[in-house]
C-alpha cells in the first residue's frame, strides 16, 4: 500500500498543512492572499517573454508548460488519489490525435476540433478508469502501462485512422484576429493561462468532497469503502478528472509541435511523464511543472558537456528517487522543516505560519 509521508485523512489537519488551502478557501484573508498570488503569477507571465530569450521561451518555457500540464494530470492521480497511471500519455495522445484527425482529415473547424479534443480527454480518462477500477498499486501500474502501450501500437499500426508511423504533420494552430497561436509569444500566453487554469481547477476538485474521497482512496481503501464510498466509482472519477488536463496537454503539444505521431506517446514518453512528475514531487500539483522544467533544462543544456543526456536524466531521476520521497518539492519542504527546527533549537522564534483554522489538538 502506498502511504506517503504526508498521508492523513483528517480534513482539518490537511488544512493546517496548507494542502487544502486552495484558491477559493472560505476565509477571506486566504482569498486576498490568493488574489495577490494570482496577480504575482500574472505579472510573472506577462514579464517572462521580455526577460528570457526567444530560444529559452520556445524550447524551455513553453515546452515545460505543456509537459507540466500533461504531468499535472499524473501528479493529481498520484498525489491525490494514490493511483499511479502510466496511461496518461494515452489520454494525451487521444486528444491530440482526435484534434489532428478532425482538422486534417475531415476539415472540421479548428475550434470544434479543439472542443472535441478537450472533451475527449475526460472521456478517455473515464474509459481507462472503468477498465482499471478494480486494480490498485503495482497492478494498476502494469495495467495502465498495458493500456498506454496499447494506444501507442494502435496509433502506429492502425493506419486507416492514424496514418501509422508518420502520424499527422503540418497542423496549424488557430489564428485569432490575425494572431497566430503557433507563434512564440501567443503560444506562451495561451499555455501559461491554460497551466494556471488547470492548476486552479484541479485544486478546486482536490478541495471538494470528491477530493477528500480521493485522498481516502490514497490513504486507506478499505476504510473508504467501509465509510460507504465506492472505491471503483472514486477511481473512475479521479481518472476522468485527470483526463481533462492530460487532454489539454495533448492539444497544446500538437499546437507546439505542429504534428503528432506514435513517437509522441511511445514507451519512452510514458516513462518520461512519470519521471517529470517524480522529479518534481507529487505532494503538490505544481511539482509537475517544476519537474517538467528540470527535465527540459537537462535535455536542452546537458549536451553541452555530455553526449549521454539520457543517462544523465536517468541518473538524476534515480538519485532523486533515492534521496527523497516527494521529489524536489519534498527536498525543499524537508529543508524548510529542518530550518524551522534549527531556529527553534537555538531559542529563536519559529517563523509561524498563518493559521486560519483553530488548532484542534493540544
Amino acid at each position: 500500500m502506498y502511504r506517503p509521508e504526508h498521508a492523513v485523512t483528517n480534513g482539518s489537519e490537511l488544512r493546517e498543512r496548507g494542502e487544502l488551502g486552495g484558491v477559493f478557501s472560505a476565509k477571506s484573508g486566504r482569498l486576498l492572499a490568493n488574489c495577490a498570488l494570482l496577480l504575482v503569477i500574472g505579472a510573472a507571465i506577462a514579464a517572462t517573454p521580455v526577460l528570457v530569450s526567444d530560444f529559452v521561451l520556445l524550447q524551455i518555457v513553453i515546452k515545460s508548460l505543456w509537459l507540466g500540464i500533461a504531468g499535472s494530470s499524473l501528479a493529481f492521480l498520484i498525489g491525490q488519489a494514490g493511483l499511479i497511471s502510466l496511461a496518461q500519455t494515452a489520454v494525451f495522445g487521444t486528444s491530440g490525435y482526435l484534434m489532428a484527425i478532425l482538422v486534417l482529415e475531415h476539415d472540421v473547424g479548428i475550434w470544434v476540433a479543439v472542443a472535441a479534443a478537450c472533451i475527449a480527454g475526460p472521456v478517455a480518462g473515464l474509459i481507462i478508469g472503468i477498465i482499471s477500477q478494480r486494480s490498485s498499486g503495482l497492478y494498476l501500474m502494469m495495467l495502465t502501462l498495458a493500456i498506454g502501450v496499447f494506444v501507442f501500437f494502435f496509433a502506429q499500426q492502425y493506419q486507416p485512422i492514424t496514418r501509422g508511423h508518420t502520424g499527422f504533420n503540418g497542423f496549424d494552430a488557430p489564428i485569432i484576429k490575425g494572431v497566430n497561436l503557433q507563434e512564440r509569444e501567443p503560444l506562451f500566453y495561451v499555455s501559461a493561462i491554460a497551466a494556471v487554469g488547470v492548476v486552479i481547477l484541479l485544486r478546486l476538485v482536490a478541495q471538494s468532497p470528491a477530493g477528500l474521497a480521493y485522498r481516502g482512496l490514497r490513504d486507506n481503501r478499505k476504510r473508504l469503502s467501509a465509510l460507504g464510498y465506492s472505491t471503483a466509482a472514486t477511481t473512475v472519477s479521479a481518472f476522468a478528472v485527470a483526463g481533462f488536463s492530460a487532454g489539454i496537454g495533448g492539444v497544446l503539444a500538437v499546437w507546439y509541435n505542429g504534428a503528432i505521431s506514435p513517437g509522441s506517446i511511445d514507451i519512452a514518453r510514458i516513462i518520461e511523464l512519470l519521471i517529470v512528475v517524480t522529479i518534481g514531487g507529487t505532494i503538490r500539483l505544481e511539482g509537475a511543472f517544476l519537474g517538467a522544467l528540470v527535465v527540459t533544462l537537462l535535455r536542452n543544456y546537458a549536451n553541452e558537456f555530455t553526449n549521454r543526456t539520457s543517462t544523465l536524466v536517468g541518473a538524476v531521476f534515480m538519485v532523486i528517487v533515492l534521496i527523497s520521497r516527494n521529489g524536489l518539492l519534498g527536498i525543499f519542504i524537508n529543508a524548510r522543516t529542518k530550518a524551522h527546527k534549527a531556529i527553534k533549537l537555538f531559542g529563536g522564534q519559529r517563523l509561524k505560519a498563518k493559521q486560519p483554522y483553530p488548532q484542534t489538538n493540544p
Binding site: 495495467l143 496499447f150 519521471i275 543517462t311 528517487v321
Partner: protein, 315 residues
C-alpha cells in the same frame, strides 16, 4: 456464474476461430506453432526471473529488459573475442547477474517502499539503454549460433524446414524450467525462496538472512535474463528498443500468469507466445493490439492473473 459462462463461450469461439484459421493454411500452421513455442521459451526465461523477484522482494523490476539487453551485448563482446558461443552465453549471464546484484544493492537503500523501488528500476532502464547505445552502437546486430546448431532441419512428416537454433531455444527454456523446479523444490535455497514468497517477515524471524536469499534471487533472475538475451540475440537480433519489446512481452506473461507464480508464468508464456505467433501470421497489422487486448481482457476478468501468485499481493 453468468460471467463464467460468458468466459467459456468466448473461449470456445476463440478456439474454434483459431483452429479454423489454422486448418486454412495447412501444415504451415506447424510453423506458427513452433514460432509460438520459441517465443514462449524466451518469454519464460524472462518471466520466471521477473516473477521470482516480484514474489520474493515485491520489486517490479522494470530494468529486466535492460538486463536482457546487457546479457545479450555482453555475450556478443565475448563471442567477438573468443568465438565461443557457450562461453559467451555463460559470461553474458554472469555479467547480467552482476548488474542485477548492483541493482539489488541500490534497491536496498529504499527499504521496501515498493513504488519508489519501481521508479528506481525505471531510472535504471533509461541509464542501461543509453549506455548500451553508447557502448555497442545503434545498429542491430546478432550473435552467431554454435556451429552444430546452424542451419535448419526437416520437420517430421512435412517438407518444411525449421531453424535448429529455434528448436534449441525451446529445449533451453524447458531445461531452465526443470532446473528452476529442482532449485525451488529440492534445495534449501529453494525452500527459503518459497517460504519468503509466502511470508518474508516470518522467514526473517526464524533467523534466516533474507537479504542473502534476496541477493541470490536477484542474481538468478539476472542470469536467466542474460541467458535469454544471449539466446534472443542469436535468433532474433540485438538492437535498441529490443529491451522494451521483451520487457513488455514478459510483463504481459507475468501479469497474465499471476505475479509471483512460476507455474502461471510458464502457462502464460505458452499462451502469449502462441497468441502472438497466431496473430502475426493471420492478422499482421493488428498483432500487437491482439496481444495487448487479450492481456487487458484477462486483467479485467481476473485482476490477479490466471494463477494466483504471491499471497500478499493485493489485486
Amino acid at each position: 456464474m453468468a460471467r463464467r459462462l460468458l468466459g467459456v463461450a468466448v473461449a470456445v469461439l476463440l478456439a474454434y476461430y483459431a483452429v479454423s484459421k489454422s486448418v486454412e493454411i495447412g501444415d504451415r500452421s506447424l510453423l506458427v506453432l513452433l514460432n509460438g513455442l520459441t517465443a514462449a521459451g524466451l518469454y519464460f526465461l524472462m518471466a520466471s526471473g521477473f516473477t521470482l523477484v516480484f514474489g520474493l522482494a515485491r520489486v517490479t523490476n522494470l530494468a529486466h529488459g535492460g538486463i536482457y539487453l546487457l546479457g545479450g551485448y555482453g555475450a556478443l563482446s565475448v563471442q567477438r573475442t573468443t568465438g565461443n558461443w557457450f562461453l559467451a552465453v555463460m559470461l553474458g549471464a554472469l555479467f547480467a547477474a552482476g548488474v542485477s546484484l548492483v541493482l539489488y544493492l541500490l534497491l536496498r537503500l529504499l527499504k521496501g517502499d515498493d513504488l519508489r523501488e519501481t521508479m528506481l528500476t525505471l531510472g535504471a532502464t533509461i541509464v542501461i539503454a543509453d549506455q548500451t547505445l553508447a557502448t555497442w552502437g545503434g545498429i542491430p546486430t546478432d550473435l552467431a549460433p554454435p556451429s552444430f546448431l546452424t542451419g535448419s532441419i526437416h520437420l517430421p512428416g512435412s517438407p518444411l524446414l525449421y531453424p535448429k537454433f529455434r528448436l534449441a531455444v525451446v529445449a533451453l527454456a524447458v531445461l531452465a524450467g526443470l532446473l528452476l523446479w529442482v532449485l525451488l523444490y529440492k534445495t534449501r535455497l529453494g525452500m527459503l525462496i518459497r517460504a519468503g514468497v509466502d511470508d518474508a517477515d516470518m522467514v526473517s524471524v526464524l533467523g534466516i538472512r533474507v537479504p542473502l536469499v534476496l541477493a541470490s534471487v536477484f542474481m538468478l533472475a539476472g542470469a536467466l535474463a542474460g541467458i535469454a538475451g544471449a539466446a534472443g540475440g542469436t535468433y532474433l537480433s540485438l538492437a535498441q528498443g529490443e529491451d522494451n519489446r521483451i520487457l513488455l512481452a514478459s510483463l504481459i506473461v507475468v501479469i497474465a500468469g499471476g505475479l509471483g507464480s512460476l507455474r502461471g508464468a510458464g502457462a502464460a508464456a505458452i499462451i502469449v507466445g502462441l497468441v502472438e505467433a497466431f496473430a502475426q501470421t493471420h492478422h499482421p497489422v493488428l498483432s500487437v493490439l491482439i496481444t495487448f487486448g487479450s492481456l487487458i481482457a484477462i486483467l479485467v476478468l481476473r485482476p490477479q492473473g490466471l494463477i494466483k501468485g504471491a499471497t500478499h499481493v493485493q489485486a
